[in-house]
């Protein structure tokens, strides 16, 4: 990419300042939650969330929605964690934050489709990471998956016209969205996502994931994590959590360079039954559809704040 293009992207991303900003509680929350579940202090989370009344209220409403089938709606974040577990509450909190930064509007890419893919990828990353090693950083993988495509939201905000053409081309020809971005815009969501991630001062490894998940070989700082997200992204797109159109290509994971990187890191991968893993992934799909519908307002049980 040329220097001038990089500058253009940076400038446009800087101007997103006027757009809905990420809630102040998001980054500290992210930092807190990227620790393993056992290490996360419930009190810290509760204290943090209490600074943002909107997020706390929205989180409680989602937690009390029919989706989770609790007989009584939780009255505090602490109660929600006790009934639903830290992981579910964490998912709800991060989703609510991101939902506030990028509220559902009619964009080039339907935000509900976008968040389904992001949450799906987060879940697959965590599952994959847990399968590969007991001591691995499953929470980090979850957050990396959640944020990997954040550049698409930047495109919707800062390059709306060009990106609309890219989305049209992709769905018309059934090609991957990043290929269509290259063809129509000359850059992809990886570049715009990287600019936003740097502006938000996200951790280095997350920036690396956002910048290189379509070209793992260019990754510098966190190659195994980038490879993990790359593979999970492909799996999601093949298992009903893609971008809402039919991608006309086959995915041969074992022949993918990212697979070789993961194999180097985790010898156990050799013994993994990929077919069974694929079938198991389908198990979380329903909950993701319901969660996104609840947070982003298409569910009747919840009015948007």
């Amino acid at each position: 990419m040329t220097t001038s293009l990089t500058t253009t992207i940076r400038e446009r991303v800087q101007r997103i300042e006027t757009m809905p900003a990420i809630p102040a509680v998001f980054l500290p929350l992210l930092k807190l939650l990227s620790r393993s579940v056992e290490e996360v202090q419930l009190d810290e989370v509760v204290r943090l969330v209490s600074y943002d009344g909107t997020i706390a209220a929205q989180c409680l409403r989602v937690a009390g929605s029919p989706l989770f089938g609790l007989s009584q709606a939780p009255k505090s974040i602490k109660a929600a964690v006790i009934s639903l577990g830290m992981r579910r509450v964490e998912t709800i909190l991060l989703t609510c934050c991101l939902g506030q930064a990028f509220p559902a509007k009619k964009w080039a890419l339907d935000p509900t489709v976008f968040w389904r893919h992001s949450l799906g990828c987060a879940l697959v990353c965590r599952k994959f990471s847990e399968m590969l090693s007991a001591t691995g950083d499953a929470e980090k993988a979850y957050i990396a998956g959640l944020l990997h495509d954040i550049g698409f939201m930047v495109n919707c905000l800062a390059f709306s016209q060009d990106f609309t053409r890219a989305v049209e081309l992709a769905s018309q020809d059934g090609i991957p969205l990043d290929e269509a971005e290259h063809a129509t815009m000359g850059f992809t969501h990886c570049a715009t996502g990287q600019a936003l991630a740097e502006k938000w001062k996200l951790p280095d490894d997350i920036v690396d994931v956002i910048a290189h998940h379509h070209a793992v070989e260019n990754s510098q700082k966190a190659r195994p994590l980038v490879a993990l997200v790359h593979v999970s992204d492909l799996l999601c797109r093949m298992r009903g959590l893609g971008y809402g159109y039919y991608e006309r290509h086959k995915v041969d994971l074992i022949a993918d360079p990212a697979w070789a990187i993961l194999l180097q890191e985790h010898r156990d991968l050799e013994g993994v039954d990929l077919a069974r893993f694929t079938f198991e992934l389908d198990e979380g799909v329903e909950e993701i559809h319901a969660l996104v519908a609840t947070v982003f307002g298409s569910a009747p049980a919840l009015a948007r704040t």
Binding site: L235, R239, Y246, E247, K250, A275, E280, E286
Partner: protein
Amino acid sequence: MTTIIQPAIARPALNKTPETVDPVYRQIRDLVYKISGIYKAEEKLYLLADGCARRMKQLNARTPREYWDRLTAAPSRDAELRELLNEITIGETCLFRSQPQLDALRKVILPELVAEKARQITKRLRIWSAGCSTGEESYTLAMNMLEESDRLLKGWTVEILATDLNDRSVETAKAGIYGDYALRNTSDLYKRKYFSTVDEKKLQVRPEAKKLITFSRLNLQDDSKMLFMKGMDLIFCCNVLIYFDGASKSKVINHFFSNLSFGGYFFLGTSESLMKLNEQFHLVHFPGTIAYWKPSLSSGKL
């Protein structure tokens, strides 16, 4: 063609949460997978539970735990597992059973095969429906190929070989007469185009689709006959290998690998897997479905 794209994943009611399922069913699910390669995902566990319930009634087993004992203790276990597999796959016998497989076939695989084989003198595709039972899958394939005959497959010859162990099934398949249940996924468009009316309740496949298919009896475990099945571009073998023991399964799969041309594909049933019985095939993903690929010579991935 029909443009109905079915969701890759069925949507169960959310109230069937995993917590409400007796943990024994997860044990049964794992046993069924280990022996047959059929995997019922958590959200489809109730289908497995329904199948078990029907078997439990037959056997007068009072609890899932009691049924587990029947499934695992000699001498009943092999026969009982077979009965259970019948129960959980019975609903899958119909035309247009798996739209994701058909989409992969028409949107990705056919264009790829046609491009790969374009330089060959005879433009011919060979498809094998191995364990075709009463012919539903074979006719579905024939109709889908006919849909492409004026476009992608213009100037191509398509041969579909449909084989089954059971003579009676083969005879039923040849007749090509189906009722509502077998036709529940078949669109009106296809019904009008490829079927004639037999009576109020039954339709028969028209000669146009029939003539693409050769039905015959074949035992997949007959090694000498299996060696003759050469030059296949596609093999479909859905819910057949689930009844084979590990060694026989391995043997048949190795045959299939040889039976396929380079660049050919092998499809199993929608929730069925080869587990890790063959490392030569590449497991590949398409939207909503998986298949096994014998890499083409040009791909350099052999």
